[in-house]
């Protein structure tokens, strides 16, 4: 322990530690209580919420709020749409970015560095820049109100970060791995798909998590390109649901919980990996 502590009397040291823990615990409550509160009121009915006990533990669990949100509130449709759009985006980002990242970092061609620079520039581009031009293009191609109107932009904007992360993993693989594969008679495709890809599984997980979070939570494209409730994803669906059930907090809360639970579940299962992904996404030089 540091020397402040050794110089101070034991008692102050002890009190200091208690205060530190107290501070950390208060911050933890501030960060987590709103979510616990959301869980509480998603299980309450209006009379309980509006009778002044908005904060406390629900008297009895009103799971019917969830059933109402899923069926009457359309949340099941929104949920399925989000799953579909997110899954398709993750798969496409992984396929495209791993191939490109590999070709840029491990194969020999003149423009490889230029290509990397151009793609990495994309990390700087805010999606605001593309909103109206994309809207016009999608409109002219009659793709508004389809899943593609979200999947294509999500993939395109997911590519730069993915190529960056995957590329830096490819760089770390020893040359001998590929050389021995080629000597054994593998062509480039077999080398890539059978030998190299399995080696970068951690990076694939990182990219998948990162892409999941950005697609699942995206709002601006989703609210602009889709106004047919049949194709809306959860973020936009939540907004229309709040409009419909304006005073029924329990049902709104249930919808918000359904939106949040998959993310939290993934986080609780893979919490180290998720934290790593977010760090990898930030530390790009």
């Amino acid at each position: 322990m540091s020397s402040v502590e050794t110089m101070l009397p034991k008692k102050t040291h002890f009190i200091g530690r208690i205060l530190l823990q107290l501070f950390l615990a208060i911050v933890a409550i501030i960060q987590i209580y709103p979510l616990i509160w959301l869980m509480f009121f998603s299980l309450k009915d209006n009379s309980e919420i509006f009778s002044g006990d908005v904060a406390g533990f629900p008297k009895k669990f009103l799971w019917s709020n969830y059933a109402k949100a899923l069926e009457d509130g359309n949340v099941l449709t929104y949920f399925n749409n989000s799953v579909l759009v997110t899954a398709a985006s993750i798969i496409l980002v992984l396929i495209l970015s791993s191939m490109t990242g590999y070709a840029i970092t491990r194969m020999n061609w003149k423009l490889s560095n230029t290509t990397m620079t151009v793609i990495l520039l994309g990390m700087m581009v805010p999606i605001h820049a593309a909103l109206l031009p994309l809207f016009m293009v999608l409109k002219n191609l009659h793709l508004l109100n389809t899943y593609w109107s979200l999947i294509i932009p999500y993939v395109a904007f997911g590519i730069p970060m993915a190529v960056f992360i995957l590329g830096s993993f490819f760089k770390g693989i020893p040359r001998e791995m590929e050389e021995s594969a080629v000597i054994d008679g593998c062509g480039i495709y077999k080398t890539f798909f059978h030998i190299i890809l399995p080696l970068i599984r951690p990076a694939i997980a990182t990219v998948a998590i990162f892409t999941f979070l950005s697609c699942w939570n995206e709002l601006m494209f989703a609210v602009t390109f889709i106004n047919d409730a049949h194709y809306q994803t959860l973020t936009v669906g939540m907004m229309s649901m709040v409009g419909t059930y304006i005073t029924q907090w329990g049902i709104i809360g249930a919808g918000l919980m359904i939106t949040t639970v998959p993310t939290i579940a993934i986080y609780l299962l893979l919490n180290k990996q998720v934290q790593k992904s977010m760090i990898a996404g930030a530390v790009k030089g």
Partner: protein, 289 residues
């Protein structure tokens, strides 16, 4: 051997689809936006070229200037409130306290949650009649403080900052924590032997060595403030009476509610430039330091 790794067909198959989708969706639209921004255009037919008039309008329109002012205030709040708090938490957690992993996990949870959920949740917290905040104030005997936080001009702006500051504290904390943890333990050992206190060690050793990650956090939080959309759009829609409007919500309503495509594009180009300039400036600042 070399022929395998310079297989032109394979390179084309690996690279071209990505480049095609990337260029057409990410790169080209920037130029298209810039082109739209010099037009007077409502989306129907062809626009008329008006030069930089949209930009002149933006810098003379009090509503646009107000939205820019809001985003600058937001950036300032991120720099002077959010980042120091994140840094404090990161330093505490990195100095091996009990429950390090638990706190890190908990602080980070809000980062993962959709901003739409965060915004709906906070609109319930701020609710004038049944909200968590007013209930809390009444319970601790401060009922005269209870008010319609989002409904009135004087409180709405600050109230709309707080959820984002709250949400991303854990994000910056995690990045800074990773930065602090990557510093070699030997340096801390040496400092301890020299009799440096914890606080002194933090200011003279840890923080200076964390510069690269602090730079990243600074860039992210300022750019995040300039780009903020989801939260404001859901929480207040820019209201009441434009009090919480930021450039991106103004851009959105300009384009999709009033169909001024040219003017809206000028705002979007302004946002891109603003982000670019601030990134360059922060990088310069950290280099000369």
């Amino acid at each position: 051997m070399n022929s395998v790794f310079s297989n032109k067909t394979a390179i084309a198959i690996f690279v071209l689809p990505t480049l095609l989708i990337f260029c057409s969706i990410v790169l080209i639209p920037i130029f298209v936006s810039s082109y739209y921004s010099v037009l007077d255009w409502n989306g129907v037919g062809k626009g008329t070229f008006i030069g930089l008039e949209n930009y002149v309008d933006m810098f003379t329109d009090s509503r646009a200037l107000h939205s820019i002012r809001n985003s600058l205030l937001f950036a300032a709040a991120s720099i002077f409130i959010q980042l120091p708090l994140s840094l404090l938490l990161a330093l505490i957690l990195a100095s091996t306290v009990k429950g390090e992993g638990f706190y890190r996990t908990v602080y980070f949870i809000p980062v993962l949650i959709s901003t739409v959920v965060i915004a709906q949740l906070w609109s319930k917290i701020y609710n004038a009649d049944y909200g968590l905040l007013n209930t809390l104030l009444e319970n601790i005997g401060l009922s005269e403080w209870a008010q319609d936080w989002l409904g009135q001009k004087k409180t709405a702006l600050v109230a709309s900052f707080i959820p984002t500051l709250w949400q991303y504290i854990g994000y910056h904390m995690l990045l800074m924590y990773a930065g602090a943890k990557s510093i070699s333990q030997d340096i801390f050992e040496a400092a301890k032997i020299d009799g440096a206190s914890r606080v002194r060690t933090a200011f003279t050793i840890t923080i200076p060595l964390m510069k690269p990650i602090l730079k990243v956090c600074l860039v992210f939080s300022v750019i995040g403030a300039f780009k903020v959309f989801d939260l404001v759009y859901v929480l207040t829609g820019g209201g009441p009476l434009f009090a919480t409007e930021v450039p991106s919500t103004l851009m959105y309503t300009t384009i999709f509610n009033t169909y001024k495509y040219g003017y809206g594009s000028a705002i979007s180009v302004f946002i891109i430039l603003e982000c670019l300039i601030v990134t360059v400036l922060i990088n310069k600042f950290f280099k000369t330091e």
